[in-house]
């Protein structure tokens, strides 16, 4: 009797975590903060500041108006580089995925592109374009394009040929074929590309900002390093991370839920 009642309680306890997924996320964040706080207590703040002073500084940065300026500059570079890479990669990926000759022709470009480090491209771009917006945007584009293209080639090769044949039998013209048949099947690949594309873009853009620009999050991290303020290095990094989290949970997750609703249909 006793053991069975305790196992029922155990099941109940487990189901609380199941039923409230938000609780799991909150517990995860709380664990990170507590761990950080505990480890930081062993070190001087100049080496590892704790979460309390860092978030106080994050609040000050948000309030000062400086954040909007630098954040705006960085986000513009990230988005401009990502969007151009995204559009070029969709077109190139579909062509490479459907045409063997095109695939062979562009394959070396992809391999070379995947190999060159972002630091090298940042330096090259700054020497080509000087201190201008073009340098970081180009760097983001050139780093992301081969990665997203590889992803889109995979997506194109995984297209359901039977459904495409169906659409041909019903005489769907090219526009309908792309909009109603091909793109919906590429959605998981487009979403994955957006996720890793945006997060990689920001890692790339801070390098360019650190090397040669006079604003942006990367510049501010470099500046904080210059005044030897570890709290500021942490605060600027976390402030930007919060924005990326807002994009993920406020934009990408809801979008994903909307465009993949058909998968959750329950069979009769």
């Amino acid at each position: 009797m006793k053991s069975s009642s305790s196992s029922i309680e155990g099941a109940k306890r487990a189901s609380v975590w199941r039923r409230w997924p938000l609780l799991v996320y909150l517990a995860s964040v709380a664990a990170m903060l507590v761990g950080w706080h505990a480890i930081a207590s062993f070190f001087p703040p100049s080496l590892l500041p704790g979460p309390l002073p860092v978030f106080r500084r994050v609040g000050e940065i948000f309030a000062s108006g400086r954040f909007a300026v630098h954040m705006g500059a960085t986000l513009l570079r990230v988005v401009a580089g990502f969007v151009t890479a995204f559009l070029v990669s969709i077109a190139l990926g579909i062509v490479m995925g459907t045409n063997r000759v095109a695939e062979r022709f562009f394959e070396p470009e992809i391999v070379v592109g995947l190999t060159i480090p972002s630091l090298a491209w940042s330096v090259i771009a700054l020497m080509w374009f000087g201190i201008s917006e073009l340098a970081p945007i180009f760097t983001v584009f050139i780093i992301l394009q081969p990665l997203i293209t590889v992803n889109m080639v995979q997506g194109t090769k995984a297209l359901d040929q039977e459904v495409i044949e169906m659409a041909k039998a019903f005489r769907a013209h090219r526009g309908m074929m792309i909009r109603d048949v091909v793109i919906p099947q590429l959605v998981p690949y487009l979403l994955a590309s957006t996720r890793f594309g945006l997060s990689l873009a920001w890692k790339v853009v801070v390098i360019a900002e650190l090397l040669g620009l006079s604003n942006g999050i990367g510049y501010m991290i470099h500046y904080s390093f210059g005044i030897l303020s570890m709290v500021d290095v942490f605060a600027w990094t976390i402030a930007f991370t919060l924005v990326m989290l807002a994009i993920e949970y406020g934009l990408l997750k809801p979008l994903e839920a909307r465009v993949t609703a058909w998968r959750r249909a329950v069979a009769l």
């Binding site: 039977e162 039998a169 005489r171 109603d180 048949v181």
Partner: protein, 254 residues
């Protein structure tokens, strides 16, 4: 509209090199109001015949004639029902039917109400706003039939449409198909490996040989409609077809 194939040959390249001859000198005619079944063993090239008629595959030799004249068959309005439903799972049931209508040139504003009418015809109007994955296999295949009928095709092509369904569902869909077809009276090419299904449905059954396929025999089914699957005259015709295919009566019973 009458559809004829004249001397169709088709080969496919083999992965291992060389060529695989699939169709050899296939000639047939489907009359303007005829329900024609094509029976043959699995993999004998039955689907290839339908794809050639639909203009999805080009024959190596021979031609497709519409009302006796050569015509680019890729311009024929065909309602195609495949072995699997081949629905667009990301569109609702209604939008799946409307997709075929729009592909055929119907303006979007008319396509949606017309789609609903054809869904009602197969008894699915209350599922119009569901996604296909919420439906059973039999219901999905009914959506595919509604999609093929909705475009008011010149010709209905059906490629073993009931072979993936359980026999109960298949039987009710066969009866339903005949009920709808008797009103529309469009020419039908229905491919199957099930000889009994063929004689139950068809006015005319064409028996195909194994690869390379050629037509061995044409069997006319003179019985009036609303046939019974267990009708001894149908079973006799089934035996005749199976005999042509080289399957003996004793093998049929097991």
């Amino acid at each position: 509209m009458q559809i004829s194939l004249r001397g169709i040959h088709k080969e496919f390249p083999r992965q291992a090199g060389g060529r695989l001859s699939v169709l050899r000198d296939v000639s047939l005619t489907v009359g303007a109001q005829e329900f024609c079944c094509v029976v043959g063993a699995s993999g004998c090239g039955k689907s290839t015949i339908l794809n050639i008629v639909a203009g999805l595959t080009a024959p190596d030799a021979g031609q497709v004639l519409v009302d006796g004249s050569g015509l680019d068959s890729s311009r024929l309005r065909v309602g195609y029902v495949f072995q699997k439903p081949r629905l667009l799972n990301w569109k609702t049931v209604r939008d799946n039917v409307a997709f075929a209508l729009r592909a055929g040139g119907t303006p979007a504003a008319e396509a949606r109400p017309q789609a609903l009418r054809y869904l009602a015809m197969v008894g699915l109007e209350q599922f119009a706003d569901e996604f296909p994955l919420a439906l059973s296999g039999g219901m999905q295949q009914r959506v595919a039939i509604a999609r093929a009928l909705a475009i008011e095709p010149d010709l209905l092509l059906m490629d073993e449409p009931f072979s993936h369904l359980d026999e109960m569902t298949a039987r009710s869909l066969r009866a339903e198909l005949l009920r709808i077809w008797e009103r529309a009276r469009k020419p039908v090419m229905f491919v199957t490996h099930n000889a009994l299904e063929a004689v139950y449905l068809a006015d005319k059954v064409l028996v195909l040989s194994g690869r390379p396929a050629t037509i061995l025999k044409s069997v006319h089914v003179e019985l009036p409609r609303h046939r019974e699957m267990e009708d001894p005259r149908l079973l006799e015709l089934q035996r005749e077809i199976l005999h042509t295919l080289g399957i003996t009566a004793s093998a049929v019973r097991h």
